[in-house]
């Protein structure tokens, strides 16, 4: 039960990580559970970067909130507010 985790822009740079394959914390878990696991294994830097009020989460390329349930094969992205256009 693996998910792909992707980071963009300043998050990608600060974490020095573009993409990860990580095991799902548990079946039927939520994005918040995945985030907790990432912060637990990544340490303070990861908490600083990811646990922000304005962090955007997208699952399978659709923006959602931390309550979104995730499963096998999902693509979960974390990124800062967008600044295109």
């Amino acid at each position: 039960m693996m998910v792909t985790v992707r980071f963009f822009a300043s998050y990608r740079e600060k974490l020095n990580t573009r993409q990860l394959q990580v095991p799902l914390p548990r079946p039927g878990c939520r994005v918040s559970d995945l985030l907790e696991q990432l912060v637990a294994s990544g340490g303070e830097l990861w908490a600083d970067v990811l646990a922000r009020d304005n962090t955007v989460v997208a699952v399978n390329q659709v923006v959602c909130d931390l309550q979104r349930v995730i499963g096998e094969g999902d693509e979960v992205a974390f990124y800062p507010p967008v600044t295109g256009g």
Partner: protein
């Protein structure tokens, strides 16, 4: 969500606004009476420091989908003939084109509204990020709260 005639392109190359408008006209057909085109450019100065270059990152796949969804919302709200959205990525210099949103419609009111709506939503939803190079080094551009409130008007 109807998308009668939409083209979205994310590309490194520059584009021709004239060719895009010809294409909008052709796609919109003889009922087209109005085209509104927005073109965004890299400014030479942003919040004080001189910008010598800009790097645009995006989320391939999601970018195209989110713009198609935004345009789809516009097609649902207004009677539109055709919409073209081009967004460049990669390294850009001051004065270069970044983004184009062109809307063809029978009347100007809906062409203006849809074009501005798409830009406001693109600015706050489409996964692009700008990194500026200035005299003081590189920095990621901060999101502007005015962009959020612009999108919330609709």
């Amino acid at each position: 969500m109807r998308n009668p005639d939409l083209v979205v392109s994310i590309q490194e190359e520059d584009f021709s606004a004239a060719d895009l408008e010809s294409d909008l006209l052709r796609a919109g057909g003889p009922a087209t009476g109005a085209c509104v085109a927005f073109t965004g450019y890299v400014r030479g100065a942003n919040t004080g420091d001189a910008v010598s270059a800009m790097e645009l990152e995006h989320y391939p796949g999601m970018t195209e989908k989110s713009i198609a969804a935004i345009a789809g919302e516009a097609f649902g709200r207004w009677p539109l003939g055709a919409v073209r959205v081009i967004h460049r990525v990669g390294r850009l210099l001051p004065g270069e084109r970044i983004v184009y949103v062109g809307v063809a419609a029978a009347h100007r009111r809906e062409a203006f509204a849809a074009c501005e709506f798409i830009m406001d939503y693109l600015k706050t939803r489409a996964p692009f990020w700008k990194k500026e190079t200035t005299d003081r080094g590189e920095r990621w551009v901060e999101a502007r709260s005015s962009d959020t409130s612009a999108a919330e008007r609709w």
